[in-house]
Symmetry: C2
Subunit: 203 residues, 2 copies
DNA sequence: GTTCCATCATATCACTTCGATATATCGATG
DNA sequence: CATCGATATATCGAAGTGATATGATGGAAC
């Protein structure tokens, strides 16, 4: 689901690979540091599929009339970089394409993929790109999954075959799921009160 | 860290691959269904490294004096399986070796690997195999990580650049981390009261 | 009793992700 | 002006995922 995350960031504004990593944490709440070994291949993949494109850099500094041979080499290297989409400081900045926007909305709304905690949080963080109806569907789907998980970990917490540590893990998992459920119910009640407001104003 | 999980299960009793998957959920609280595409290669890897070994099955039913050619083929197939460590119903049961036990304790206590939520829960679920001192170290290390994460997500929750959904994700992440911290502090206080009890009894 | 189905069980595939490592540039500090 | 930490891209092997194939087993339905 890294693709959705990257496309989601690019919906807002252009980014280069290095920046994507920090933005994932800061804007989308991704807890683990996603490795560059997944980000750069992902960007290349998205570019290959025509969902993003490399952006010509803003203003590649004064053209610098070359004098010495060394300076000339450096200048040509620089122009080589800029033509390849590399801006100042070797940055390769990407922009989302129209096909990318379409694909992003499709991926974000896709009901066939099962969410775990990470992908669900990611989707919520990007929920402003969903319609109210799709938001409610996303939340209710996750709610169901969590209810099932809850009965499972509650059983584990009461399982006398497990030692105190394993039971503690199960019991904490149960509390954690309960907290998630409260969150989802909050979000759902906000969605519903929003749609009420909308209905009232529509009169 | 799948290796630790599997070795941890085998510390208790022998298992075959298919069983490992369910036990991961039931006994170790792993939330995602770990795929067979990782379990079987992991077992093969552990066997290659001499940390586990295939077990000859308990009692491969009555030897069945073969009569017809078809029955004979089936019987020979069965003996072929049993000799390869395949028991009834094609199960390949694994047992942990002495080297495996040593490696398990080393991996479980290893302070160089950074825990995320999943690996930390896994380690706690297996914490009975750690010494009290190592348990406290594990808990305090995680506690530090969570405190850092907490300041980060709290900043995100207050960041006016983010929309309501992204801020909600951050705010929920903060509550979730707070719950984790309470859990860890509970576990720590239990560890300390246990060591007190021990000290008192030692008098 | 045998046919049929869900579950049990192993295995492999292409693809994605991770963690480590290499390399180079920029900007501030001394 | 040297050097060090942060910025930035890239690539590698190992490991995990999700899908799919294949077949045995046990029990239920008829």
């Amino acid at each position: 689901m890294l693709d959705v995350a990257i496309l989601g960031l690019l919906m807002d504004r252009d980014h280069h690979g290095y920046e994507v990593r920090s933005q994932l944490r800061e804007r989308l709440g991704v807890s683990a540091n996603v490795s560059f070994g997944s980000i750069y291949p992902a960007l290349a993949r998205l570019e290959r599929h025509g969902l993003v494109e490399a952006v010509a850099p803003a203003a590649p500094r004064s053209p610098a009339i070359s004098t010495g041979s060394l300076a000339g080499e450096r200048a040509s290297l620089r122009s080589l970089r800029t033509s390849a989409g590399l801006g100042r400081r070797g940055r390769k900045v990407y922009r989302i394409t129209e096909r990318g926007r379409q694909e992003f909305r499709a991926l974000l709304a896709d009901p066939t993929t099962v969410d775990d905690g990470r992908t669900f949080s990611l989707r919520v963080a990007l929920a402003r790109y969903l319609t109210p109806a799709l938001r409610v569907r996303l939340l209710e789907r996750r709610r169901q999954d969590l209810l099932e998980r809850l009965t499972e970990v509650r059983q584990g917490a009461d399982n006398p075959d497990l030692d105190a540590y394993a039971r503690s893990v199960m019991s904490h998992a149960a509390h954690s799921v309960e907290l998630d459920l409260e969150w989802i119910d909050d979000l759902l009640s906000i969605e519903r009160s929003d749609s009420e407001t909308f209905a009232r104003e529509a009169k």
